[in-house]
């Protein structure tokens, strides 16, 4: 009887010490969950999720204020990835926030632009080059296709062009795997 | 344009052909019951598979044609006592096909050997029926319990040895009259060699399984020949050859790397002896195989061959 009690007590003590040491030694600083969620989000910074950017949305998900299915640019794949990360049931993409569209890039019609700079101010990733009373254009490599510049342009000179597949970006469709 | 490469369907068929000799030996010694069991098993297997495939919404005919369900059925029918009641094989095959194969996603996705899963299920659920072995040529009717009086049962050599040892006898004092097992194992050995020659089965698993079995039993035999049977005894009795060439070599549930296969086979051989000698069951193939099936992902991970240029 004494043997059993003492063995278990010693075991509890040792394991407790090990756990305590591990808690201190392997402590993780900051809130890695927000970073992990942000890493999955597509960084379009469009605001369709009702938050001003991807990071605020990530923070909202982490704190439980928002659902995981509010991001159309991430698509259903993004929702599934978030569900897997958070170890919850996956949901269908919430259509209220918009639909998933193929990748598009903004292009300014240079004949019509009046240099009002409203688009420069609206772009969440500073993808415009231009200045007041000077012709403005989009840096294609930086544009995330968020559509935020469309409503602010007073002369409606911005078009969204779909990104075409090239021989280098083609993904072969094997057994229905490619979502292209 | 392609060379003649053996397809999956043909592979399954060849394995079934290779079983014929062993089955013939069983018929010679114990009667035609085993054939009836096989027939029952095949019918149950095909029906069960068709039903589940229909529920999964997959085309039935191509999947049935590949012969894997038939092979599972035949293996299980050979493994159980041939005088077991008809509902034993039906239940066993149902369990093997539905739980052991289809629920995991069908051919290629099952982590466990389906026939062995069925066998283990039967052994644990119906120990009485699964340990009554025929002692001589029996009438087929015994399966349908129509001539229960005539059914003569006895223990297998392994069973007999185990009981006698527990009663305190030593090995030297035992006498074996039943040579059926030897011939049956020989039949399966010949079939297995045929598969090896036709390159349907790779040599790694059969060789390492036999090696593991012989080494483990050899060590024990050297330590105390009066309490432990010799390696030869273990090779001849039980489902050893069936395991080595037909059961452990099931590619879906076995290890896939060459080194991994050697480890896998060797471990099965060792575990078979351990359970036979120290465990609660006279024959141990099913459990040994199932235990090693669990370790396959681990073995595969650690035995990857060196890649070119790394």
């Amino acid at each position: 009887m004494i043997d059993a009690v003492s063995i278990l007590s010693i075991l509890a003590l040792v394991l407790g010490l090990v756990l305590g040491y591990a808690a201190i030694r392997y402590r993780v600083e900051g809130n890695p969950l927000v970073d992990q969620i942000d890493a999955i989000l597509p960084q379009t910074q469009c605001g369709q999720c009702d938050f001003p950017g991807c990071r605020p949305y990530a923070e909202a998900i982490a704190s439980g204020e928002a659902e995981i299915n509010q991001c159309p640019p991430g698509g259903q794949d993004g929702v599934d990835a978030l569900a897997e990360l958070l170890d919850v049931e996956t949901l269908l993409l919430n259509a209220e926030h918009g639909e998933t569209k193929p990748k598009r890039i903004a292009v300014v019609d240079e004949q019509v632009c009046i240099g009002c700079t409203l688009c420069i101010q609206a772009c969440p990733v500073d993808a415009f080059v231009g200045s007041s009373k000077v012709m403005t254009q989009v840096i294609a490599a930086e544009c995330t296709g968020c559509d935020l510049c469309l409503p602010v342009c007073p002369v409606d000179c911005i078009d969204m062009i779909e990104v075409k597949l090239t021989l280098n970006t083609f993904v072969p469709n094997v057994g229905g795997l490619a979502s292209v | 344009m392609r060379d003649k490469v053996m397809g999956t369907n043909q592979v399954m068929r060849q394995v079934i052909y290779a079983l014929v000799l062993g089955i013939a030996a069983q018929v010679v010694f114990f009667g035609f019951s085993v054939l009836v069991q096989i027939a029952l098993a095949i019918v149950t297997a095909l029906s069960a598979e068709a039903l589940v495939l229909r529920m999964r919404g997959i085309q039935i005919t191509p999947s049935l044609r590949d012969g894997s369900a038939v092979l599972t059925a035949v293996l299980l029918a050979i493994a159980i006592p041939s005088i077991a009641p008809w509902w034993i094989i039906v239940l066993g095959v149902l369990f093997a096909i539905v739980f052991g194969k289809q629920l995991f996603g069908g051919l290629g996705n099952n982590p466990f050997n389906p026939a062995m899963l069925g066998y283990a299920f039967l052994l644990v659920s119906y120990p009485l029926q699964m340990t009554q072995w025929p002692s001589e040529f029996q009438s087929v009717l015994s399966i349908f319990e129509l001539s229960a009086v005539d059914a003569l049962t006895g223990a297998t050599n392994l069973d007999y040895t185990k009981t006698q040892l527990m009663l305190g006898e030593s090995i030297g004092a035992l006498t074996f009259e039943n040579v059926s097992q030897m011939w049956i194992n020989l039949g399966f050995l010949v079939g297995g060699i045929y598969l090896l020659l036709r390159r349907i089965v790779f040599w790694h698993i059969p060789l390492s399984l036999v090696l593991g079995l012989v080494l483990m039993s050899g060590v024990l035999y050297l330590i105390d020949p009066s309490s432990y049977s010799s390696p030869a005894f273990h090779l001849i009795n039980g489902a050893t050859m069936l395991a080595a060439f037909f059961i452990a070599t099931d590619p879906v549930s076995a290890s896939t790397t060459p080194l991994g296969r050697l480890i896998y086979g060797f471990a099965i051989g060792v575990i078979i002896i351990v359970i036979r000698v120290f465990g609660g069951y006279p024959d141990a193939v099913a459990f040994a195989v199932l235990l090693m099936n669990i370790t396959v992902p681990l073995i595969d991970y650690y035995t990857q061959p060196k890649v070119f240029g790394k």
């Binding site: 942000d38 597509p42 960084q43 379009t44 910074q45 950017g53 991807c54 990071r55 969440p124 990733v125 500073d126 993808a127 490599a141 930086e142 995330t144 597949l165 090239t166 021989l167 280098n168 970006t169 083609f170 993904v171 072969p172 469709n173 094997v174 057994g175 795997l177 490619a178 | 344009m1 392609r2 060379d3 490469v5 053996m6 397809g7 999956t8 043909q10 592979v11 191509p62 590949d66 894997s68 069908g106 051919l107 290629g108 996705n109 790779f202 590619p251 879906v252 076995a254 896939t256 790397t257 060459p258 595969d300 990857q304 061959p305 060196k306 890649v307 070119f308 240029g309 790394k310």
Partner: protein
Amino acid sequence: MSKFAFKGGLVLENPFPAKEIDLIRIPLPDKVVLPMQQRIGEQAKPCVSVGEYVLTGQVIATIDDDRCAPVHASISGTVVAIDNQVMAHQSGLKALCVTIESDGEDEWIDNSVACTENYDFCTPDTIYNKIRLSGIVGMGGAGFPTHTKVQFAEGCHTLIVNATECEPGIMCDDALMQAYPTKVIRGVEVLLHICGAEKAIIAIEDDKKESIKLLKKFCKNERITIEAIPTKYTSGAEKILVKSLLGIEIPSGGYASDVGVLCQNVGTLVAIFDAVVENRPLISRVVTVTGSAIKEPKNLQVRLGASYDYVLGFADIDPGENDIRMAGMMMGVDLKGTDYSISKNTNCIFVNKPIEKAAAQECIRCGMCNTVCPVELLPQQLYWYSKSSNIEKALDYNLLDCIECGCCSHVCPSNIPLVDYYQFAKALNRQQTKEKVQTDNARERFEFREFRLERNKQERAEMMEAKKKALKEKMAKDKVQKEAIAAAQERVNAAKTAKESEDAR
């Protein structure tokens, strides 16, 4: 293991052997369609316009990137179109092409510049430039710009000439060697001169006895050896060839130049000779036409850009709907129809009677694929991971080392198109990597913008503060001044009243 043996690979029979290997020079095509997108690199920009008259060998498209080769007109005539045409690629996508209609004259541009037979006196740089300006790319199928590859391999110790032609059914290199054995040897000598290698090895599979005999007969150079290696598929894969000839394993992800070896296809060598010594840019190549629908396989020397229909017209084809496949039976691409044109890396066209493709079954994990992979990968694991789009694990299992040779697909008893899955996984990997770079960039820019707006706000606030303070100080100074003036005024007033009262007494 015998001297040049290697693990894995398959011994395959040539399904359509030719009784005699003959090189037939076919007449000029009526029109050629030249693609701007070569196998590797950016798209070239046409430097001619529609309606312009061009000469054979004239540069019609250039690329800014010095590592890539320009495109030349393969016949003389008028440019009739610069538009998108279908490419001989599994995607069926279209890309920009220049179409030239022949005037039948085949007038050559005057290209006599630099080198000629006295190439010994030219500096390596001059010759690299000549090779680049002649548009030479790897003729074995990969199409890598030759001058860049040679430059990377500067200082190498061995030059390996890949004359193995290991894919069964293709005979274009064999035909080339039997027709021009001296050009091959001279081409090797030119390359030896530039790359500075001590020796060259011409590797040929031992079933090409005639070629071996001819090359040995015409080779008088002690630095060049001709090795006959066992006939086995993938003996010609660069990594495998370097290992079996020299015993050196090229590190994973590395190149032959990393281990001091330069490997070139024998067709490329003939092209180098033509360019450096005879001043002819790359405007034609040898194409093998073979298949079950063709009575006798043929090797044709064709101008680049000729249409498949034109080329196939010189072979005896069984009528009816046939399957077309570009390149070999193991690594080729199945194409629909014949509306394509010969490009720099079209080494073979298969025309086969349609056969029913066996349906793919489930993988039974038999491991046959693992035994035949020449790069010693685990195709089975790659398959399972590619199938579930688990690119991370596939990369762990060295997906990028796969040479897509097709040995694994060939032996699979369940007829699974394994190489298709690896191509899918590689393309997905490229796409995901590109996306990751873009999203990381977008995230950075977004965060910087937030920071910038915050900083602007701060600066504005500080500026307002500073202005306010300055105003306050100014007002305080003004106040002090005003008080001083008021005080002075009072003193003056006081003095005035004092004086007035004194005057009054």
